[in-house]
């Protein structure tokens, strides 16, 4: 890789050392092992001193390397912290890996270089017990404060049956409740100033405006928000840990439920990285089928957002119309996949079945029907002056701030940057389609809304092209690692039968390696960073979700606004709690 050598050389020159080593990965992302204690200046250098800098901290996670067997050529490490940086100028990622030794290692925090590192580092601490020196608030983020152990460490049990029965006796209940109490001092907040006593208001975990189990503690002066602390993790189900237990094939339904409005779009993000690892080429027909379903789900997800956003600012009716239309999308999804919200329909190497007879008519009817409706909704909601009054100029952030906080998707495009991974790093055949990337300039709630509405229109365009140009051919790749395995010659020769039997019962063995996918999901950029150790299940599955950094930014953009504005901001950010907590 030219880019990798380039970066490697630059780093070696700048830091006058050859302790940087390069690792080849199948996804082609330059992967560089960096010496531990220098991480802050290195990241700082990549962010600010390069000609085409890596402005965005895309993801930060860790790997427990202690049980890994196939890591030839990599520096010795018990744990590895992995940084994914992204450069808009280069349109490429760089992956920095930092080896750590010991049971509970520590390393310097980079939160002063990238503001969104704060939550990521907390998550790594929570999940692995790796400490970040100099972090302002290194506290558990997804697990309860009272949790024992760090779940993504290999010695932590993965199933409830390995942990003994759950009991909640009275003293424990008191302890758990005390842990949930918000203590402003812990967050460096004052209870009063000279002329005001602050009110601390719990928004959630049960609140109609938070769209799920999210708790935001507000520090209020009257109705003005002085500060806010989101508390997440109520929806945490250990999706990453499950990836280490489930076979490559049986993990697919779990991905459906990460961004639970995105349906098969999650399958796609996961499968793209698995297919990179396995080296599977997808036939065109499967690609186009995948794209069509993803865009249907994009529309369905945006419709949910549109309706509930209108409801957040007090408009009661649109949500009913939009859910009716979402039902029409689900009718198509149901006819094709059998399922609705979580169809679990993509497979390693393609999709589960070919399209059913008559799918063209269903999709055609929808493509004809929906743009009219969208215009109607535009008049009903977007052009409503009260709606404008509630959303214009609210929750503003600039493009620099968006990049600093790791914002992707509509939230980034609303700041004026024409950036869509479907166009910039096309995957699954998106380069075959003709569509525009809607943008807006002001980065407020209103602009995020109009970008999403326009995105639905573009999705209809893509679906129409799928409809008109659906290629003939196989719906699944002809490759031994696809699931369910190909049955063609099983009754004729015993070797094929054995392979088939093993691939069905154990699941395929994906060759060792590392690969990350990156797709433009409904909420922003979604990635699966899969590591295989040559086994029937992943060694580590890291899910980078867009909602996580988006939620992290909410306190920053809601300061100074009122409680009512906070609900508009939350609505415009368009998050899904399962997408934040995984």
């Amino acid at each position: 890789m030219l880019d990798a050598d380039n970066i490697l050389q630059l780093l070696q020159q700048r830091f006058a050392t050859d302790s940087f080593t390069e690792q080849r990965t199948v996804d082609g992302i330059p992967t560089i092992w960096v010496p531990g204690m220098k991480i802050v200046p290195i990241v700082q250098f990549l962010k600010s001193n390069l000609p085409q800098p890596y402005q965005m901290l895309y993801d930060l996670s860790a790997i427990d390397e202690r049980n890994r067997t196939k890591r030839e050529g990599q520096p010795a490490a018990d744990f590895t912290v992995v940084y994914h940086l992204y450069s808009f100028d280069r349109n490429s990622f760089v992956r920095l890996k930092l080896p750590l030794q010991g049971e509970y290692p520590s390393l310097p925090s980079i939160h002063e270089v990238f503001r969104n590192a704060n939550w990521y580092e907390r998550e790594v601490y929570d999940m692995f017990g790796i400490r970040f020196n100099g972090h302002p608030h290194l506290e558990r983020i997804l697990m309860p404060l009272t949790w024992q152990g760090h779940p993504l460490r290999k010695e932590h049990p993965a199933r409830a049956t390995e942990m003994g029965p759950f009991k909640l006796w009275e003293e424990k209940e008191v302890i758990e409740q005390d842990a949930l109490e918000f203590k402003p001092e812990m967050w460096g907040m004052q209870r009063q100033t000279e002329d005001a006593d602050f009110m601390f208001l719990n928004i959630g975990p049960q609140h109609p405006g938070t769209h799920g189990v999210l708790r935001i503690v507000l520090q209020l002066d009257g109705e003005d928000i002085v500060d806010a602390v989101p508390e997440i993790g109520f929806h945490h189900r250990g999706a990453e840990k499950m990836g280490e237990r489930q076979s490559w094939h049986t993990y697919i339904p779990y991905t459906d439920r990460v961004d639970y409005l995105g349906g098969v779009m999650n399958n796609l993000a996961y499968l793209l990285s698995v297919e990179k690892l396995a080296g599977i080429e997808i036939p065109d027909r499967a690609k186009v089928i995948r794209v069509m379903l993803c865009e249907l789900f994009r529309i369905s997800s945006h419709l949910v957002w549109f309706g509930t956003f209108a409801q957040d600012v007090g408009q009661l009716s649109p949500v009913f119309y939009m859910f009716t239309d979402r039902e029409k999308v689900f009718d198509i999804v149901e006819a094709i996949c059998g399922g609705r919200m979580h169809p679990n329909w993509f497979r390693i190497g393609g999709v589960a079945q070919d399209l059913p007879n008559g799918w063209e008519k269903l999709v055609r009817d929808f493509v004809d029907y929906f743009p009219k409706k969208l215009r109607e909704y535009n008049n009903m909601v977007i052009r409503n002056s009260l709606f404008k009054a509630r959303t214009k100029g609210i929750g503003i952030y600039s493009l620099e701030e968006a990049i600093e906080w790791g914002i992707t998707g509509a939230g980034l495009r609303a700041c004026g940057l024409e950036w869509d991974f479907r166009k910039k790093l096309p995957y699954s055949g998106y380069e075959m389609f003709d569509f525009d990337i809607p943008i807006a300039q002001n980065g407020d709630c209103f602009d995020r809304a109009i970008v999403r509405v326009e995105e639905m229109r573009q999705s209809v365009r893509i679906i129409e092209q799928c409809l008109n140009q659906m290629p003939a051919g196989n719906y699944k790749a002809d490759h031994p690692l696809t699931t369910p395995p190909i049955k063609k010659h099983t009754m004729e020769d015993i070797e094929t039968l054995i392979t088939h039997f093993l691939n069905v019962s154990w699941g395929p063995v994906i060759p060792p390696g590392e690969a990350m996918s990156c797709i433009e999901a409904t909420k922003g950029a979604n990635s699966y960073y899969m590591i295989s150790d040559g086994n029937t299940s992943a060694y580590r599955s890291r899910i980078r979700t867009p909602s996580f950094p988006h939620m992290q930014m909410v306190p920053y953009i809601s300061k100074g606004y009122t409680v009512a504005d906070l609900l508009a901001i939350l609505g415009s950010v368009d998050y899904v709690l399962a997408d934040i907590d995984r």
Partner: protein, 319 residues
Amino acid sequence: MTVMQHVWIVLGVLFVLLNIAAGLIWLERRMLAVWQDRLGPNRAGPLGILIVLADTLKLFFKEDWIPPFADKGIFVLAPAIVVGSVLMTFVIIPFSPHIVVADLNVGILFFLAMSSLGVYSIVLGGWASNNKYSLLGALRGASQMISYEVFMGLSLMGVVMLTGSFSLGDIIAAQKNVWFVFTQPLGFIIFLIAGIAETHRLPFDIPEAESELVAGYHAEYSGMKFGMFFIGEYLGITMISAMTVVLFFGGWAGPSFLPPVLWFTIKTFAFILLFILLRASLPRPRYDQLMEYGWKILLPLVLVNLMVTGAVALWLRGG
């Protein structure tokens, strides 16, 4: 009229009003459903109208729970105030030439006074609940209702000037030739807006803003005490609709093929439906936007209306 006739009128009005308020539960849910492409309540009785009965029974049989942290006396008192004050207002409303409980010569002032009392229920209820959401709702409600009272009162002064009387009977009589909605269009619009704010209905349901404050000032209420707030809200809608009809649409007057009381009912229900339609269609402004709208737009407008009306009235009288 004899004493007994009076008693019958009072009881009759009370009976009809409470039934209308309860019936509005059904009407609102059905109409919202119609406008939102849904079915709405359709199981109990024809068109689901017995949902009213089911709802009322349910409310009566719910546990009458008072939160241990609440201020008990005031907590119980608050919902009674809202129903009491709204019902008192109906005393002055002439439903037909002969059906009126008391045609006070200070009718409009009595109406304004009673609707001002309504704010106590919100403030006291929110305060006594001892809940942060309720408190926020109560504070919002207090400032919203007190502000909009000003415009409501001022918007009616045009009508009073043209009539020369505070009595609703006189006001209806004065509209014999032309309804005040034509001579006082601005007054009508401002009265209607202020009326929506007074009854804190969407788009001005800021004290209870469901997506922000959960239920605002009545978040802690349940059972029949919640039911009282509920009934109070529907009575409020009916009251503002009835007042609009009396003040601007000629009250019970109408062509003689229908009895006056029916004309009054039809007109009132037209406005009630308007209230429901507003709820189905508009988003909610922010609290400070609502106040700004009131003090910066409605107040100047209503003052201009007052001056112009006064000048024209003087000029007409002088001429």
